[in-house]
Amino acid sequence: MTAHVRNAADAGASVLSVRNISKAFGGIKAVDDVSFDVNSGEILGLIGPNGSGKSTLFNCILGQLKPDQGEVRVNGQSVAGKRACDLNKLGVGRTFQMLQVFPQMTVLENIILAGQEHQGTMFTRLFGPSDAGLTEEAAKLIDFFRLGHLRDELAGSLSYGQQKLLDAAMAFMAGPSLVLLDEPAGGVNLTMLENLKERLVAFNRERGSTFVVIEHNMDFVMSLCTRILVLAGGRIIAEGTPAEIRSNPEVIEAYLGG
């Protein structure tokens, strides 16, 4: 069984380490020598104006782009050359900017799918139980995200906000040590947003999960994250708690001055 509750002794250890990452596209440096660490249990916000290199950095971390130099390690292992599924097996969960659920499968099936590849072997997945022994655990997670009443509905028939919750829940199913959330607030209305934030915070507290969040919505980031990195022109220009960032003149300059 996958342990959702991480060992308390791990708290504070580096889950993600980014070292001197640079990436240029045709002479323009999208990411320029960026380094930072994310410790266990943290919710790290990654913000910056459009074109500041957030997405490029994100893709480098996820192994989708090969950085020109530098290295990304998750739990001490390099992500270089890893496919998305390998990275997931390494303990990295993620969501996408655009909503990504499986509309023709039920909520329960969506969640089971998100966990099943971490259970047993190819062989047991073919000849073992059809839910890979995950129904109970999946139901718990669904309840946690307050989708219990929709368990057997097709994911495609859910409202946008509910799908967004499901989307996030899937990223957590396999008990990842690190979850990367790409603009989780995008397109979500205010009430839904509160709900989503509240659940994410609760999850972080109860299970000690580590998040990295890219987000434009300042209020959302400020109230969710424990630490924030500000990216501008491919470099980290500020780092600190939400309160520090809010009052940092360089950040204000980057956003307003451009």
């Binding site: 599924c85 499986f102 499968m105 998100a114 097709l154």
Partner: protein
Amino acid sequence: MNSRNLILVLVGIAALIAAPLGQGNYVIYVLCSWLIFSIAAMGLNLTLGYAGQVSLAQAAFMGIGAYTTALLTMAGVHWIFAAPAAMVLCFVIGLVLGYPALRVQHHFLAFVTLAFSTLTFLVLRNEEWLTGGSLGLVGIMRPKFLGFDTMPQLHFYYFTLAVFVLVALLFWGLVHSPWGRAFKALRENPIRANSLGVDIRRMTLLAFAIGSALGGLAGALAAPLVQFIDPPAFSLMHSLKILLMVVVGGSGYFFGPILGAGLVIVMPEFLRFTEGYYLMIYAAMVLVLMIVCPTGLIGLGRKFASQFKGRSVRGDLKEGAKL
């Protein structure tokens, strides 16, 4: 499976058992072809409907299965060993063919299988020492099982039916296993599936190889049914025919290909009165179906059913303003 569905399935099987009774050899022959093509179409449905890959070589795999079975049984090997050998061969060829094609790009499997289909035809025709060339192989024996001789047409039908039911059950198990869930996921959203740990390349490859192996099994049944095989019976045109079965019936639905195979095989019977025009009418009907309802007949049926029942209440509306 709920009890109502279970009853429907049992009734279906009973109908299949009763179907050939009192019928002439020809009708039984048509029923046999239907079951055999259903197996091939089910295999293709796994590739196409579940894993979302177009294969244009299903008939070629049938051919490989048929020739393997024919050659082995004619050399004295019992069908019960020859057919699995044919399936394994098709599975392995599927892996060898699919691995490089899927490494490259999504729709390239269609192109590779298209080429493979014609290459298979050429090899079957040209390698006369093995395959009998364009004149084919004659005199394929029907198997005997512990005193049950499948030589009479009716016996052969029950033999085919038994294999069909077994395959359908295994197939049902497969698509309802975690593998099946992964297949569906990679059809609906491969990128998301990949990020959730589904090795899309491996699963797609497996879906294609298993689908091809089922094509091989269909061939292993077709050879003793017709007792004769020649290369044109497994040409590209027939691959397209099987593709048609899957799409017309409804790809991605369990019963879609079975329905589709029935239609494609039985349709010429109904359109016979139109003489030479039947292919034309047939093509026109497929064209219209694709324009009106690309999800095939089962999709069309569901469309009607849901309009009839009134639109089902959306889950979120039921729960009102909870969110």
